[in-house]
């Protein structure tokens, strides 16, 4: 047993979709969330910049004595996970590997066609495509970067006409392509799940990576024997590097927690 909290970080509010899943799967765990809102968005920054920022985020969480770290950010996973694993000894995982392993384990199709949407940086890194091709046989991957979606989510526009037109535009490469699944490769994107469903129809399996990560984490904690006590009720605290943003408004709606504001603290991790 290990009573220490789990650290989770993202560039903004997107990682809260992962936190929500982790809370659901692991109600006994304490969570520390770090939103690097000062440097949002990560999606269009260079690999070099992302590595620097992610290193600081992980370093901060380690200084808070977490027992494991989840990179709840698609961009930081694709650009910086390998580097962070070289730097830090702490168990650390992102959103790609747990998702790909889950698809591999549960695949039923002879041939499988998978769409991936993510930020510019993630798509350019080719990480999803590489890992899907390496792990899964007979797979075809169609990728599309959607640079506006994360900023749109940070602003709380996830169901208005602008979001609708943006999703319509971004979904074009997947229409009439008979994809089996679409991976939401940025943790902000589950906020657009309904609009994506409207565009792609009910046939397509929309993959929320947060759910896969939470599943993975649950198994990992158990197998390593470092889960918290069953009688413990997990608490979450939230650190933001900049509080002049819509984090609270969007996160409150997502978590349905009106006391969220009181659990947020501004910090400097420079």
């Amino acid at each position: 047993m290990d009573r220490r909290p789990i650290g989770i970080f993202d560039s903004g509010v997107g990682g809260m979709t992962v936190l929500a899943e982790i809370k659901r799967h692991l109600p006994n765990e304490d969570l520390i969330y770090l939103g690097d809102t000062k440097n949002f968005p990560y999606g269009d920054k260079s690999r070099e910049t992302i590595i620097k920022l992610a290193t600081k985020c992980a370093g901060f969480l380690i200084s808070q004595d977490v027992k494991a770290i989840v990179i709840a950010c698609g961009t930081a996973t694709s650009q910086a996970l390998d580097e962070l694993k070289k730097i830090y000894r702490i168990p650390i995982e992102g959103i790609i590997s747990p998702t790909v392993q889950d698809i591999k384990k549960n695949r039923k199709e002879e041939k499988i066609k998978i769409g991936v949407i993510a930020t510019e940086g993630t798509i350019k890194s080719n990480k999803w495509e590489e890992e899907l091709n390496n792990e899964i046989e007979n797979v075809e991957v169609i990728s599309k970067s959607c640079p506006l979606l994360a900023p749109m989510a940070e602003q709380g526009w996830t169901s208005n006409n602008v979001a609708k037109e943006a999703i319509r535009e971004y979904m074009k490469p997947f229409i009439n392509k008979k994809i089996d699944k679409i991976i939401l490769g940025c943790t902000h994107y589950p906020l657009f799940k309904e609009l994506i469903r409207q565009e792609l129809g009910n046939e397509v399996d929309i993959i929320n990576t947060g759910e896969k990560v939470a599943n993975y984490l649950q198994k990992y904690l158990l197998s390593a024997g470092i889960e918290n006590a069953k009688e413990h009720i997990g608490e979450s605290i939230y650190y933001l590097t900049d509080t002049e943003c819509n984090f609270i408004q969007v996160a409150e709606r997502l978590l349905q927690d009106e006391t969220l504001k009181s659990k947020i603290e501004k910090i400097n991790i420079e």
Copy 2:
């Protein structure tokens, strides 16, 4: 006479709308453009962060031996101009004061109603409202932050359905309000001028701050006797802090200059 270049900076490609006006008004001047694309967007960052970034941008331009600096960024003008003037001796101006002075000088209306659209940071700073109220009598100001427009422009979406819906959404506070003028308080916004025109109609004077800044600069250089030689053909060079972005594509279209790419250099100003 002073043959040194003029320095211009912005968080991204928006300031190029100012550069375009400066090139048009001052064809003899050499220009150095700095796009801090690594840290784009400035619009939703804290004042403290903007001051730090703007200080670095201005410092870099000074190291390039410029004779004056234009902050071609609404957010950096509203948040950091006063601080930069305290730090540096070089003549430095942003987009607010030249615009307000121009409106003051040319006003004909008894009462004047002005709309201001800008980034979240600029609107929160209240700088436009303060300066308009201080300088212009009988003025009413209606402000609206438009956080998505700059990221949309950086992506090159300035005329598609998404841009159209976003402009429609953002223009709502100005419809049926009989505004005389609307100030494009972020230098990315002239890229949406046609869509704004469609929403607001022909009655409203749409103010491109770049034009006002270029006018101001022209007069300033002449009065200070530091303009370049009349026979000199001005050249521009462009520095970006991150080149993995759509700067080139958007800027080429804006300036109609296909050789732009060869004049761009990546630099580190950390």
